[in-house]
């Protein structure tokens, strides 16, 4: 790893002003040489340091966000939760309100990575981490997402790649917390260098490759995610997150799913079904949601919905098995949510 400068500002605006670019932009180049003048924001540093050690990033300066006060709190606001971006995954998984009312998020956070990483990794960093695609993470492959002109996955080793929305690039979004947040219609508060704030839904925050193949989200240089908002769920809402990995300890999912159901008198009033590790962004299974909405929950209906969750899927040469796993996962999650 190359030497770098370190600064640890006390305020959001000074941190935002110091950042010259985003991690994604710093990895884009014509010939596979990362930006060596970049000043980059760092939260937990889990993914950032990985990328630096692999030579995929070569920042001149890191701007530490961990010393900025107030970003590590979870507050109740208007019945919902306002979560600071520096809240760690283990903090999130252990928080009583999160566990009671946003179970899918607690489960996603609590089963990520390893206990050591969960103690360090922040929710903000988790949402902004780069995909695990082994071509993206290889210096030997100057892929589309890094400014090259080839997505090696299409005719390569694509067993862990996307089955939806992979036009131009077949990454899957790695954040299981993002899968859960989309199911809760969560929103992000983003602060810019001049202190301006904008709000965006988590769903709209993430981008598909056809919109921009070089980045996974709409974050611009100098912007910082300053809060994650969870709106108050109805009393009847029930949620859970399930994932399926090759190994149970410290592994990335082959497939994950968050479901949130509002049920009254056995009728599904509202359903959110979001698939992770399925597409370049958290994938909302709208056909499955529609199949459930307004219907009386039962096993046959849930089977139909689980099949509908795969509508539009276009598996690659080596990842057709994911369809089977997703259908199973969604069905099991819905059955469990309906029974809870």
């Amino acid at each position: 790893m190359h030497a770098f400068e370190w600064m640890s500002p006390q305020g959001i605006e000074s941190a935002a002003r110091a950042a010259t670019t985003t991690v994604a932009a710093a990895m884009v180049s014509e010939r596979g040489e990362p930006d060596d003048e970049a000043a980059l924001l760092k939260a937990g540093g889990i993914d950032l340091l990985d990328l630096m050690k692999e030579g995929l990033l070569r920042p001149r300066r890191l701007i530490n966000l961990r010393d900025i006060a107030g970003l590590e709190r979870i507050e109740e606001v208007d019945g919902g939760l306002r979560i600071g971006p520096n809240v760690t995954l283990s903090q999130l998984a252990a928080h009583e309100q999160v566990r009671m009312r946003f179970r899918a998020l607690a489960e996603a956070a609590g089963t990520s990575a390893s206990p050591q990483i969960r103690h360090l990794a922040t929710l903000g960093g988790n949402l902004l981490q780069r995909p695990r695609c082994w071509y993206l993470r290889s210096r030997a492959h100057h892929c589309t997402r890094k400014g090259g002109d080839t997505c090696f996955a299409f005719d390569g080793e694509n067993q862990y790649h996307a089955i939806f929305d992979h036009k131009g690039c077949a990454i899957v979004h790695p954040s299981t917390c993002a899968t859960a947040l989309v199911a809760f219609d969560a929103r992000l508060e983003i602060t810019g260098p001049a202190g301006t704030r904008r709000g965006v839904s988590v769903e709209d925050f993430f981008l598909l490759p056809e919109a921009d193949v070089h980045r996974e989200n709409t974050l611009a240089a100098g912007e910082i995610v300053t809060a994650i908002w969870l709106p108050a769920p109805p009393e009847t809402a029930r949620s859970l997150h399930v994932k399926h990995c090759q190994t149970e300890s410290f592994d990335w999912p082959l497939a994950d799913a968050a479901v949130m159901l509002e049920v009254a008198d056995g009728i599904c009033r509202k359903a959110a079904i979001v698939l992770g590790a399925a597409a370049p962004a958290p994938h909302r299974a709208r056909a499955a949601e529609a199949a459930l909405t307004g219907q009386r929950l039962g096993e046959a209906l849930i089977r139909t919905a689980a099949r509908a969750a795969l509508q539009g899927a276009a598996p690659l040469s080596k990842n057709g098995y994911k369809l089977v796993i997703f259908e199973t996962l969604v069905r099991r999650a819905l059955l469990a949510a309906a029974a809870s």
Binding site: W134, S138, A140, V324, T328
Partner: protein, 785 residues
């Protein structure tokens, strides 16, 4: 010392079945007959490892912890191409880079197949690089970062060449050639015959064939047949390859994580033209080797050359991606097997055609297992190495036998089903080993084998299955092996050998053996190992360390004690033959004097006495001997039972339980043996379900050259494991101990595969058994348009 031969009566048989006595003619310097474990104080007792506390508290010194004054740090430049020729190489700019002290160009790399008649190449230009990661040059600098930065200053011009990374593609006549010339055939422990080579295919080697398999198959009443595929597994030692080379005028000292200090010394002396006495090899704690740290590699020679050039110690530690790409691996195989039998279960004929790839190296054969384990008159084996542009394979825990058993033990399982025989009953018919018979009996009872249901009959989505498979491995003895025991004047005792503790605890075993002989406790024995300044010990590979070293350790203790008795007899007004030792006390025959060991040592007129003993031949003789090692007459067995659940909707295989019954002659430290069997089983599960090197067809790069995407079993994948170890006395040496490391892994993958078959009724012929592979086998994958 006397070379008289005496007759001893030694225990023989399996404890719990029947232990009798066997008469053996042995040398007079051999320690007296050792009773069965039940009557011993130290040997056979579960004993905590002597360096366990140091390891778990971070106090143990691994090679990466060695820091010498003025030490430099080395890094290696590696080929970014899977196949290329070096057109020009200029190290000049690197030599004057900041902090650089030496640059070494690797012109003649080792550890791969050697072309017989290639034109001699002088200088780096013209050298062919044959895999991504092929080492080119090394730099020593004052910091690792300075060395790394300087690598980028080496100017190098490559001519990329066509490459092939797939075993099937490489076999085709028009495939790019990995080697232009025929390579020299390497033979392990047998006569060398140059094998044919066509394109990338070297072989076949049919030397293990016997009888007439074609005729045997023609006459068989039942034939089963299958093609099996196994993947490349990497060693994944948690401690990477590491060394500090310290070249000085008076000689070379190398601190190195190695499985064979004495072997590294011999290889370095030969490579550098140094006398053995001027080379010293040292290792303290080790974090695994599994075969990959057996010999010197390009990293070792580079670090030594850099130290010699810089006149300073040089430290070289491989990074994890270098470990994955260029520190050896278990070769991939494709095995086609036909087995014929009579209706009564008699195995009449077996024909195996196997292709394996160790990348740019030889040694991908699978035959030893099938040719040795079961009675079969007509047996043919044709195995070939296939070259591909990938890092060289090397020995990995039970080389050949692990992929071989995965295929063969499934074929036997299939045969049992076709014959409507229980898999255990078929083995009763074809397996002549009395040890495995007992292991099957014990295992079946403890495992509850009678619960097993017909294949695929389990109801529901999560299907449970039971399976079993057997191990077979030669019991090896390193005959070039010695041990010293010293008794000091204050009663302290040292045992000394160059043997290294790869992590399995040989030091603790030595302490137990010496303590038993001297009437002391293991904690009272000072263990000095891992240094070629001590008598040359055996390697830690081939499951031979304990078998080789414990007999000389016990004999040295016995001989040192005899010297002590001789030295102190006059002080007790008696003669040595009238002194006896019991429970740590030395008594005169007339009962008038009784002194303890310490008091006896205090009566020495010199600071110390000691004895060095070498490994004597097994009392019953060896099966065969080759160079510095020999095959004992009895092989090692082992039977493993696995219980799995398969989620038929996600394809995940979960190990619920593994029960293993093994033998290793006389067990010395049951706790460490159990630990080693656990390790073998866990590594075997990891091989069966998770591990696989994945190479990219576009670039030849390994895509998962890390421990994240190269999946390996971790704690939550570990099943309940039960280990039962037989005491199998054979009256063969002063300790009668043999090895366990390799038998512990051989049976695991096929036992799992047979259990998966039992669960789902579909046979998994390809490794690893991933969710994708299981769903595919179940016919659940969507049809592609």
């Amino acid at each position: 010392m006397s070379d008289k031969i005496g007759v001893r009566s030694l225990p023989a048989g399996i404890a719990g079945v029947s232990v009798g006595q066997i008469e053996r003619r042995v040398g007079a310097d051999e320690a007296p007959a050792l009773a069965p474990n039940a009557r011993l104080r130290c040997i056979g007792q579960p004993t905590a490892r002597i360096n366990g506390h140091a390891k778990v508290t971070g106090q143990a010194t691994y090679t990466v912890d060695v820091k010498l004054p003025g030490m430099l740090h080395a890094r290696i430049l590696r080929s970014p191409y899977p196949h290329a020729r070096i057109l020009a190489l200029d190290t000049g700019p690197a030599e004057c880079a900041p902090g650089v002290r030496a640059v070494h160009v690797i012109e003649h790399p080792i550890g791969r197949a050697i072309e017989i008649d290639a034109a001699p190449q002088s200088g780096p230009a013209g050298r062919e690089l044959r895999y991504v990661g092929d080492p080119i040059a090394a730099i020593a600098a004052i910091t690792p970062a300075a060395a790394q930065a300087a690598l980028e200053r080496i100017r190098i011009e490559y001519q990329p060449l066509p490459f092939v990374i797939d075993i099937e593609a490489a076999r085709k006549a028009d495939a790019p050639r990995v080697f232009d010339h025929t390579v020299r055939t390497e033979v392990f422990g047998g006569p060398a015959t140059q094998l044919p080579q066509h394109g990338n295919v070297h072989g076949p080697d049919a030397s293990a064939s016997r009888g007439d398999a074609a005729a045997g198959l023609a006459g068989a009443e039942v034939i089963v047949e299958g093609e099996f595929r196994t993947q490349v597994q990497t060693h994944c030692c948690l401690e990477p390859h590491a060394l500090v080379a310290d070249w000085r005028d008076e000689g070379l000292t190398v601190y190195i994580s190695t499985q064979f200090t004495a072997g590294i010394r011999a290889e370095l002396a030969a490579a550098l033209g140094l006398p053995l006495a001027r080379v010293r090899v040292v290792v303290d704690a080790m974090g695994g080797g599994f075969g990959s740290k057996s010999r010197i590699g390009n990293d070792v020679l580079a670090a030594v050359a850099l130290s010699r050039a810089a006149l300073a110690p040089v430290r070289l530690v491989l990074a994890r991606d270098e470990e994955q790409i260029d520190s050896g691996n278990r070769p991939a195989t494709v095995q086609h097997i036909r087995a014929g039998a009579r209706r009564d279960g008699t195995l009449t004929a077996v024909a195996i055609e196997a292709y394996g790839t160790a990348g740019v190296a030889l040694g991908a054969g699978v035959g030893n297992f099938a040719q040795s384990i079961y009675d079969c008159r007509d047996f043919s084996l044709e195995q070939s190495d296939v070259f591909i542009n990938a890092g060289p394979g090397c020995a990995m825990r039970a080389p050949g036998n692990v992929p071989g058993a995965f295929a063969y033990e499934q074929i036997i399982d299939e045969l049992a089903e076709r014959l409507a025989l229980d898999p255990l009953a078929l083995r009763e018919r074809i397996d002549s080993s009395p040890v495995r018979r007992e292991e099957r009996r014990i295992g079946a009872e403890r495992f509850g084998w009678s619960r097993r249901q017909p294949p695929g009959s389990a109801p529901g989505v999560h299907k449970r299955g039971l399976g079993m498979a057997q191990s077979h491995w030669p019991a090896l003895v390193h005959t070039n092996c010695a041990c010293e025991v010293r008794i000091l004047r204050d009663g302290s005792v040292e045992v000394r050998s160059s043997v290294q503790d790869i992590g399995t605890g040989i030091g603790t075993v030595l302490a137990q053996v010496v303590a038993e002989e001297l009437g002391l406790t293991p904690g009272e024995i000072v263990v000095r190992i891992g240094d070629t300044n001590f008598p040359a010990g055996p390697p830690s590979y081939g499951s031979r360390t304990t078998a080789s070293l414990t007999p000389p350790a016990r004999n040295a203790a016995y001989q040192a004690l005899r010297k002590l008795l001789a030295a102190i007899a006059p002080t007790l007004d008696t003669t040595p033959e009238k002194l006896t030792m019991r429970n740590g006390r030395i008594n005169t025959a007339d009962g008038r004097h009784s002194i303890d060991f310490r008091e006896a040592a205090r009566r020495l007129s010199t600071e110390q006495i000691g004895a060095v003993a070498s490994r004597s031949d097994d009392y019953g003789g060896f099966g065969r001997r080759t160079g510095d090692f020999a095959f004992a007459r009895n092989a090692l067995g082992g039977v493993q039972f696995a219980e799995v659940t398969v989620d038929t909707e996600t394809g995940r295989v979960r190990l619920e339980r593994v029960l293993a019954v093994h033998d290793c002659g006389r067990p010395i430290n049951p706790r460490q043996i159990e630990s080693q069997v656990h390790g073998g089983i866990l590594q075997g599960i990891s091989y069966a379900l998770f591990e696989e090197r994945i190479l990219d067809a576009h670039t030849g790069h390994m895509l998962n050259a890390n421990l994240e995407q190269y999946r390996i079993l971790r704690s939550r994948e570990a099943p309940a494991i039960e280990v039962h170890v037989l005491e199998n006395y054979q009256g063969n040496s002063a300790t009668d101990a043999y090895g366990i490391a390799e038998p512990a892994i051989i049976a695991t993958a096929p036992a799992i595969a047979n259990a998966v078959y039992n669960a789902i009724g579909v046979r998994m012929r390809t490794l690893p058994m991933t969710p994708a592979a299981v769903l595919s086998a179940l016919g659940r994958l969507p049809q592609r348009s």
